[in-house]
Amino acid sequence: MSNERLALAYRKLLFAYPQGYRAERGDELIGAYLEMVGDRRRPRLADATDLILGGLRQRLRSAGLAGLADGLPIAAALAMAAGSALAVFFLLTVEPGRVSTVGWLRVGPFATLGAVVFVAWLLAAVTAAVAPGAPARLAVAGTIATLLVVTVLSNKSLAMIQAEGLPAYIIVPLLGLALIALAQARDSGWLLRLLPPVSAITTAVWLKVDSADVARVAEYESCCMASAPLPMALTTAALGLLLAGIAAAIALGWRGDQRGLWALTILISPVMLLESMWLGDVEPFRSLGSLADSNDIHIAVAGMSAAALTAVVLPLLLARLLPLLNRRRDTFDDPVS
């Protein structure tokens, strides 16, 4: 590939940047890439990822939301920890049980194909602890792919194989958590790296101690009764995620570091997804969810609507409020001005 064609290939990869930024800095970015890559024939996957993520960061910056990118690694570790706790819960409660549907495939020692997703999630959590950065992101991407494949394979209307999968009200929050967990940072500290394994071990110990509740869980239920163990597990995960986010916001905010506040803002959306089963009875999410005829899908649509709303409105509110708060603090710090 000639130099011009290589430059053109890099220029196409600038599509994620805002138009104004492309016009102002596009030549400079491409020039830096051409100098860096020497006589390479075409852009690599890592180059494309770099430019697409760079473009998305630039769009966030344009909207005053650059802090979201800073809070993402903390949110990723907390989302990974919540998902790890859920994976252990389902693996130790539902999965060793018998599936009531006669003639359906059992997956090794487990009852449903969902077990494959949970094992993949725990492997990703271990990867994030021992090899943060790209290997951890790859492991999380693998978990997302596993979740999607299991969802398609076990979809009863497609009936590709006769194996039980996961209900929508569990698939959707898991997908939300995994998408945030994708942002595993290379330079995460030990605290963030150890959170997911610690959360998984704590859940296993808790289940061992509270074995009476475990025995009551036979299979993935249709959604939802307030006292049922599975919805309660999702609610506990949501509450844990929310409290951990608030703790991070306070602990870091105390030192003038806003990353925790941004992480909390990001985490409100998966909290909403985990609480889908209760939002299904709340307007306007009930009306949106009622477009679906299945109860599970109704719940999932209600949760996704709420999460989509919080993912847009909360960051925009924070982007407007933070500069005002900082201005007030500067005024207090400097009484002369």
Partner: protein
Amino acid sequence: MPQPLREPTFLILTALAGGPLHGYGLIAEVDRLSDGRVSLRPGTLYGALDRLADDGHVTADREEIVDGRLRRYYRLTPDGETALRAETERMRRHVQAATARLHGLGTTAMTGTVPA
């Protein structure tokens, strides 16, 4: 209290402390300063430069065209120099504390006693 700088940011400011540099020059200098451990790509570098410019730590210095390619040079501002000095001092205190403790460990290992 100012937030500690992340390693790539610290290395970018350190690279610019030597004088104005353009994008690829900065990538090469950060690579050299970190012994190849921190390898920035242009998308990441320009994101970091934009943030540093927003904070008033770096600014554009001049532009030139070399082999038909645009090179824009960046330089450290006085605020950037202050931030780099503060971070260097913070790290120096940590290194000093760790060195003193390690020296104590060495003394303990040789004599079998805890130094007073």
